[in-house]
């Protein structure tokens, strides 16, 4: 009896090793913290939509790569006219949508015209604002004419909001997304999971994985046992505070990268006393970024001195502009006539970086005489009161859109900041495509924001990924919200 058992165990073991040696795994379960409201990236801003569909289900003319670079996607190449206003895209041929219909230049025209139409509810409509007209030259060539040269046009076309959809399925993509990508949508069990399977007739290099399930795990405490039990093999966006529980386990890889999320202490620039430059500068001197990063994000995340990710190619290091200096902060407050300090409110949205960071910011500002009343708010409340109605003093939030320094030039944006010199730089940037000049303009823009101490620049939100050590090809950074699975595979 005992011998039988041993033999059986040995046989099972041998079989298990043999199969794994012959073929690597081709299935994957990924944990995501938030369920997408729907699956159409052209009709909603939620990052969760892109974390499922970007590069997997939907593709654009161009795409953004793991290090923020612009790569060709459905357009295999393009030419730009000398005046920078006409882009001619040469499209891949033999491309099919998942429903079997053919992809052609007509779909490109349809998608771009749909996104910029009057009644469009595309969440990033400004990406298409410079487009004057879209012409189909032949089934494999499309010509986009802009009203003015736009340096960021090819980058813009790589956003999830600019993916190419088919007129047949455009209205049903929310529930049943149909794209041209290497994975096709299979099933969505609401509240539970979304399943993608490999597309049979993909035009490009086929994916390694056969089946991917995105499982929704809202609670960070549940993520650790889900990894340990092997139920879920990857959490590309893991809670920084839980990292210590898995970082010494050789079965897992912990990968800390950068996002495009500038975490800032937003200041209402029109509301006294924050309309005084000295007061805003005093706040900047009062902040100790190291302590905030340690407390709010487990020591992960890089300090920033202006509104630009350190991973971005246009980044200029301005973290030395306002070193942590309590005496200097008090002096500036005195200059502003506030030597006795003052009271203000700090509204905190529900994210943990805001709630944890808020406590630390409040204590740091108390050291220079600014007493903050902390008001926790829901996300919907924050959007309504702070963002839309601008009824706030201070708040903490992460601006996660890539390359979004232009928000400081927007009219009526919730910072209530208006500097003609800065607006001019942003307007020039829009019209400049020369890389060297763009770099210089971006540097100027960052410097103006730092000098004006428009907001308290805190740190770049880290992207903490934890996954099975045998899994390869997931992104380290998050230049845009995505879980690109096109190159993901299991090593043997």
């Amino acid at each position: 009896m005992k011998l039988w058992k041993t033999l059986l165990a040995a046989a099972v073991l041998a079989l298990a090793t043999a199969t794994s040696a012959f073929a690597a795994r081709t299935d994957l379960v990924i944990g995501i913290p938030l369920e997408p409201p729907h699956l159409d990236p052209t009709a909603g801003a939620a990052a969760a939509i892109r974390e499922v569909t970007y590069a997997n289900v939907f593709e654009g003319l161009t795409r953004i790569g793991p290090n923020s670079e612009v790569l060709p996607d459905l357009a295999e190449s393009w030419t730009v006219s000398d005046d920078g206003k006409v882009y001619t895209f040469k499209l891949h041929t033999g491309v099919k949508f998942h429903d079997g219909s053919d992809f052609s230049a007509d779909d490109v025209k349809f998608s771009l015209d749909r996104a910029r139409a009057e009644n469009s509810v595309n969440a990033q409509k400004q990406l298409f604002a410079a487009i004057d007209k879209v012409d189909v030259v032949d089934p494999a060539t499309v010509k986009v004419t802009l009203t003015h040269p736009q340096g960021s046009f090819l980058y813009n076309m790589g956003w999830g909001d600019a993916v190419i959809v088919s007129p047949k399925s455009a209205d049903t993509n929310k529930e049943k997304p149909v794209g041209t990508g290497p994975f096709k949508f299979e099933n969505w069990a609401k509240g539970s999971s979304i399943t993608l399977v490999k597309s049979d007739h993909y035009w490009g290099a086929p994916a390694f994985l056969e089946k991917v399930e995105f499982r929704i795990v809202p609670d960070a405490a549940a993520a650790v046992p889900a990894l340990l039990s092997g139920d879920i093999q990857a959490f590309p966006f893991f809670d920084p505070d839980s990292v210590s529980q898995v970082k010494d386990d050789p079965r897992f890889k912990v990968v800390v990268g950068a996002t495009e999320g500038e975490t800032i202490l937003s200041i209402n620039n029109k509301k006294p006393p924050f309309d005084k430059l000295q007061v805003r500068q005093a706040i900047s001197y009062a902040l100790d970024r190291k302590a905030i990063i340690d407390g709010a994000s487990a020591g992960l995340g890089l300090p920033i001195g202006s509104h630009m990710s350190p991973a971005n190619k246009y980044y200029v290091d301005l973290t030395g502009r306002y070193p942590h200096d309590v005496a200097k902060a008090k002096e500036l407050l005195k200059e502003a006539g506030l030597e006795n300090g003052f009271k203000a409110t700090l509204r905190l949205p529900p994210t943990s970086y805001a709630r944890l960071g808020g406590e630390i910011v409040a204590s740091q500002l108390r050291d220079v005489g600014i007493n903050l009343e902390i008001i926790p708010v829901e996300w919907a409340q924050w959007l309504d009161q702070v963002f839309t109605k601008k009824d706030y003093d201070l708040t903490i939030v992460s601006h996660t859109e890539p390359n979004d320094i232009d928000i400081y030039a927007r009219k009526d944006y919730y910072f209530n900041y208006d500097n003609p010199a800065f607006n001019k730089v942003i307007a020039d940037l829009e019209l400049t495509s020369d890389e060297a000049k763009r770099k210089d303009l971006y540097a100027q823009a960052q410097k103006i924001l730092a000098d004006d101490a428009v907001v308290g620049f805190l740190y770049e939100l880290p992207k903490v990924g934890v996954w099975d050590a045998k899994l390869q090809g997931l992104w380290e950074n998050a230049p845009i919200p995505a879980n690109d699975l096109t190159k993901v595979k299991w090593s043997d």
């Binding site: 046992p225 889900a226 309504d384």
Partner: protein, 315 residues
């Protein structure tokens, strides 16, 4: 009995109408715009307005209430703002998880609590009573998310008997689906059982002091027969009341356990809908729950009459 029933039904109906007005009004006052939530921080005010129109959010309040309430009458709960599917489909999917979960938890809690309560009451003041009531105290005090995590670490991570969370759906088979509900049901049942055991015990002790128990004992009935046949039956009324309350709670108040086990239950649907200002979903689900609570109360009231014949004649 018939007039009693009719009266109860009329009261229930009035409660439903009143609840619908309160629920609708409260949620509409809540700050936050579902259209802005959908479009995020980069969309212009004009675009948000456009989407508000498309979602029908700009119609007058009273009109929207009437539209919604008349829909409810014909069991049309409207369409979710965020998911853009009928609310009833969402609820049906979630009930497939929440209802079995609540029933299993309730059964577990009853199976544990009644014997423990009986045992404790019959050994009042002795060591057995102290130990079981101490355990019940612990059961009430232990936070159930912590208890749930401990269950996960032992049975899912260490022993690998059940999955750590998630729900495969009933289409994956009855056993896999049941297996994934087992740990959450235990985590939910424990504090409920603890409360129920204490209620059973005190109800029994009260009854056991009554004269007729002494009479029954005096006429020579064995203690066990007295306990089961005479005492327990009379102690059932508070126990049934608590059970009714617990069922209503288990149906939608299990958000913490649903989060720990990432189960797609009704509690999480409501929670998510609140944060996304998917008001139509919140309003409709809350109304369904109000209806469920009223129905459960009605059933509990009627079951009093079943366990206690004296109540039948009084009505």
């Amino acid at each position: 009995m018939t007039t009693y029933l009719l009266k109860r039904l009329a009261i229930s109906l009035a409660t439903l109408v009143l609840a619908s007005i309160v629920v609708f009004a409260v949620l509409e006052i809540l700050p936050g715009d579902p259209a802005r939530l959908m479009l995020g921080m980069n969309a212009s005010a004009d675009q948000v307005e456009l989407l508000r129109n498309q979602m029908g959010l700009n119609a007058p309040l009273a009109l929207r209430y009437l539209h919604w309430a008349s829909g409810l009458l014909s069991l049309d709960f409207g369409r979710s703002y965020t998911y853009s599917v009928p609310v009833i489909d969402l609820v049906r999917e979630r009930l497939a998880v929440s209802l079995p979960l609540a029933l299993i938890a309730l059964a577990l809690s009853t199976i544990i609590a009644i014997p423990v309560g009986l045992f404790s009451a019959s050994r009042r003041g002795r060591a057995g009573d102290t130990i079981s009531m101490g355990a019940a105290q612990l059961g009430v005090a232990v936070p159930n998310f912590w208890f749930a995590l401990m269950l996960i670490y032992i049975f899912a991570v260490w022993l690998r008997l059940v999955p750590a969370g998630g729900f495969p759906g009933w289409s994956a088979g009855v056993w896999p689906a049941l297996k994934s509900l087992l740990l959450p049901a235990i985590a939910l049942a424990l504090p409920q059982a603890a409360i129920l055991a204490r209620v059973t015990r005190s109800a029994l002790i009260e009854v056991l002091n009554d004269d007729y128990i002494r009479t029954a004992r005096a006429k020579g009935l064995p203690y066990r027969a007295v306990l089961w046949r005479h005492a327990l039956r009379n102690a059932m009324i508070p126990v049934l009341t608590i059970l009714g309350l617990q069922f209503a709670f288990l149906l939608a108040g299990t958000i913490i356990i649903e989060n720990v086990f990432y189960l797609p239950g009704l509690g999480r649907l409501v929670f998510q809908a609140i944060t996304q200002r998917d008001l139509i979903v919140v309003e409709s689900v809350v109304m369904l729950l109000v209806a469920a609570v009223i129905a459960v109360n009605l059933i509990v009231d009627l079951s009093y009459a079943v366990v206690d014949p004296r109540l039948r004649s009084r009505q």
